[in-house]
Amino acid sequence: MNELGRGFALALGLISHGDSELTGIVLLSLAVSLTATFAALLVGAPMGAGLAIAKFRARGGLILAANALLGLPPVVVGLAVYLLLSRSGPLGRFGMLFTPPAMILAQITLLTPIVIALTHRFADVLWDQYGGALMVDGASKPRSVLTILAIGKASLLTVFLAAFGRAISEVGAIIVVGGNIRGYTRTMTTAIALETSKGDLALALGLGLVLIALSVTVNAIAFLLARSWKK
């Protein structure tokens, strides 16, 4: 338990000194996870809403697939993306392995099913409520998708938080495709993994506390945003 105390002290020390390595790690974690989350939202939210609105044969199968992929193991995704991006793999010529873009790609792969499945869930309910009115108004399918997403923007915010939470806490995929390179692809979670394996448990705990604080901050901002929409 005194490891926890030392962890607190270390965390406060690092933050107050503005340790440059820590700053770099925090910024990288945020950059990778936020970029991946927004990209997944951009791709996945319209798809999720579209699945609620459009009626076509494969629809049931796709919804099932999206929900099933919620359980995709991050380290397996990491392995798949690694093989894809390896110089001996199909996308090797882009030289993307062991870089931040590779980490973003892996996280987008993990997050998109989450976004699709969760968006579909609330879009389905909203469509039941508003679908009739929208169709009477003569709205096109794309238009309907945007409208439903706009109406459900508070739920969309929850989807964002769920996806971001998954991204910022993830370590299995990004450590495989990123390589945990110091000063380049080391994020909060991969740094914690490294410090733990080095036996520096106090530092690992300290970093963990910083990560939690980061996550809480993002959630708090989102909460305030949602409140301002209610007014």
Partner: protein
């Protein structure tokens, strides 16, 4: 809400470290090396010196030696710094690498609980120590991850015609050196570890060095260039600069100047007889 999204996205992209696409002119190489080298802190000491001298950034992917060789065999690294001579020679023989050079060496030590149930403290013969540990069925933590350290350990067991896998006292962990030490502390087990990682290790608990000094335990490191003929995308020029710097006077000075608690951890030249 879209304005906020745009703002955050801009921030996100701005904080992103330079990607290969954006900064094509930046000089960097990917070095596949081992967890023990990374965890000993050597790279934190060496790389800034090299970078200051040459402007080349060295990005270290630290994994077990087996995995480092596999990464090199796929062309995903530009150079290797590993410690398994047999593996290194095979790597070159398979045309995956060129110009293998001796760089430095350190040594392995056998650490264990201070109570020393197997009675190996102070022994000068590593093989005999292993024999006593097996004979007393004392817990032994193996890395079990095809690393250079693991390969050394397995060579000792097989030289004794022992195959401890499957025995209750032999714990195969499949972990890096630090993680293995962590677990060994909790299990109060014997471990074969490189001296450098143990010197740097913060969480020793009851473990102490019990056996050291056997020539068998010398651990030489080799640098290999990933074969640019096989992998045209390899950054051959910058990798060669690193490769040659390691064995130059400056490189050697940098390696031997690394200290943890005043103790030198890596030595240059080739260990006798190896």
């Amino acid at each position: 809400m879209f304005r906020l999204a745009a703002l955050v996205l801009t921030f996100a992209f701005a904080s992103l470290p330079q990607t290969p696409v954006v900064l094509a002119q930046e000089h960097s190489i990917t070095l596949a090396s081992t967890t023990s080298t990374e965890e000993s802190g050597l790279f934190g000491h060496l790389i800034p010196i090299f970078h200051a001298a040459t402007g080349i950034e060295v990005r270290v992917v630290a994994v077990g030696t087996g995995q480092a060789l596999a990464i090199g065999a796929r062309g995903d690294a530009d150079a290797l710094l590993v410690h398994d001579r047999a593996g290194e020679d095979k790597f070159v023989a398979d045309r995956n690498g060129i110009d293998r050079r001796d760089v430095m060496y350190n040594d392995f030590v056998i650490v264990g609980p201070k109570s020393d149930p197997a009675g190996v403290r102070g022994m000068k013969d590593a093989r005999q120590a292993f024999e006593k540990i097996a004979a007393s069925s004392s817990p032994f933590a193996s890395r079990g991850d095809d690393s250079g350290t693991n390969r050394m350990e397995l060579r000792i067991w097989s030289s004794l015609a022992l195959a401890p896998r499957g025995s209750a006292w032999y714990r195969e962990l499949g972990s890096g050196m630090g993680a293995t030490l962590n677990t060994a502390v909790q299990m109060t087990a014997y471990v074969l570890t490189d001296r450098a990682t143990f010197a740097h290790f913060q969480n020793r608990g009851d473990l102490a060095i019990l056996v050291e000094g056997d020539k068998l335990l010398l651990n030489p490191y080799g640098s290999i260039l990933v074969n640019p003929a096989k992998w045209p995308q390899v950054k051959a020029q910058d990798a060669r600069i690193w490769h040659e710097w390691l064995t130059s006077a400056e490189g050697r000075a940098a390696i031997t100047s690394y200290r943890v608690n005043g103790e030198q951890l890596f030595f240059v030249g080739t260990p006798f007889g190896n």
